[in-house]
């Protein structure tokens, strides 16, 4: 294997790992906040659990968007290019 090819592989794997790892921090924090607030609200008003759960899942799915972006970028780096 030539040294250029090796450097390219190094860059690919490092880049994909960094993209996914750093990109997962934000959505993790965001979804944690959503879950914590939903739990608090559920404990305060147990009769609203049904509504709160649907809203919580919706907010989770919106918060995880940036994580999904970095997942796609990591896949593109690894498999497509």
């Amino acid at each position: 294997m030539e040294i250029g090819e090796g450097l390219m592989m190094l860059g690919k794997y490092l880049g994909a790992g960094l993209a996914m790892g750093i990109g997962a921090i934000g959505p993790g924090l965001g979804e944690g906040r959503v879950g914590a607030s939903a739990m608090e609200a559920m404990a305060r008003q147990p009769e609203m659990i049904g509504t709160l759960t649907t809203r919580m899942i919706l907010a989770d799915a919106i918060a995880e968007t940036t994580g999904i972006y970095s997942l796609v970028i990591a896949f593109m780096i690894l498999l497509v290019v």
Partner: protein, 279 residues
């Protein structure tokens, strides 16, 4: 819970099980090898003219889009009369549409726009839901091979979901973008619509334009990333366990659950984008 199956149901489920076993035997005997290179690739067809921007098409996207539209139109024309006392299927349809109608009614406060926005939102929701669910069922798909051409896979991969193609999602998001500004012009009048770009002060104009353009881009990329990322994850995890049992649950989670949630989110955001502009 007791499940009653009619004879045709049993034949249907039995034929699916038989098909799975046949594919399993076929895969085991022919030594199917799976390579991770080329997972994200699509079958792209080069039209005979030119090399420009509109000279290439994705045939699978076009086939599956028309197939899903034909399926929906067929199901709609099958309905003869809506009954006063609804049956099972009619109750399901009414529940879905009523949920979307309530969403629209809660977020749009101009009464004359509720009906047209509901039509757009319900059409988007049904189409995206159908295509995401089809993307979770095992079926026929075509993948490219090296040196041109393509290979057809039967039952070892899911149907090709048209929403896992970015072009489709950009089209849907662009449609929502154009419709939201058309509604804005109709609701506010042309002058106030132009003026809304120069608020709160005139030098915020570039910021407002960037904000408007970022909406359809993030709208499209959210759906694309979820559906395509889910598809690739399914393939890779299924490969790790050699297609043993786990893909069924992955298809269930990524296809049905995330697919339904993403269809709902796309619809809710479309309603929010439209209703935020007409106020």
């Amino acid at each position: 819970m007791k499940i009653n199956l009619t004879k045709s149901d049993k034949i249907f489920l039995g034929s699916i099980l038989g098909g799975y076993i046949a594919v399993l035997i076929y895969v085991l005997t022919t030594g199917y090898k799976f390579k991770l290179e080329g997972v994200g690739q699509r079958w792209i067809f080069q039209l005979p003219f030119g090399e420009g921007a509109l000279s290439r098409v994705n045939p699978m996207t076009i086939f599956m889009t028309w197939a899903i539209m034909a399926l929906i139109v067929y199901l709609v024309t099958r309905v003869k009369v809506f009954e006063v006392i609804p049956g099972k299927k009619q109750s399901l349809l009414e529940a879905i549409l009523e949920y979307v109608y309530d969403l629209v009614k809660d977020s749009v406060n101009r009464k004359e726009f509720v009906r047209p926005i509901f039509n757009i939102a319900a059409a988007l929701f049904i189409f995206i839901l159908a295509s995401n669910i089809i993307g979770s069922l095992p079926g026929v798909s075509a993948i490219p091979v090296e040196g041109g051409g393509f290979k057809i896979t039967v039952l070892s991969d899911t149907w090709y979901a048209p929403t896992s193609d970015l072009n489709m999602n950009l089209m849907l998001a662009g449609f929502v973008f154009v419709m939201s500004h058309a509604f804005a012009i109709k609701a506010k009048g042309f002058k106030r619509w132009i003026k809304s770009f120069f608020e709160p002060v005139w030098w915020m104009f570039p910021m407002n334009v960037i904000g408007e353009i970022a909406k359809p881009v993030s709208h499209a990329l959210r759906l694309f990333g979820n559906i395509m990322g889910g598809g690739i994850l399914m393939l890779i995890i299924g490969y790790l366990v050699k297609y043993f049992v786990a893909p069924v649950f992955l298809w269930g989670v990524f296809g049905l659950f995330f697919g339904a949630i993403q269809a709902l989110i796309f619809t809710i955001l479309a309603i929010a984008y439209i209703s935020s502009l007409i106020e």
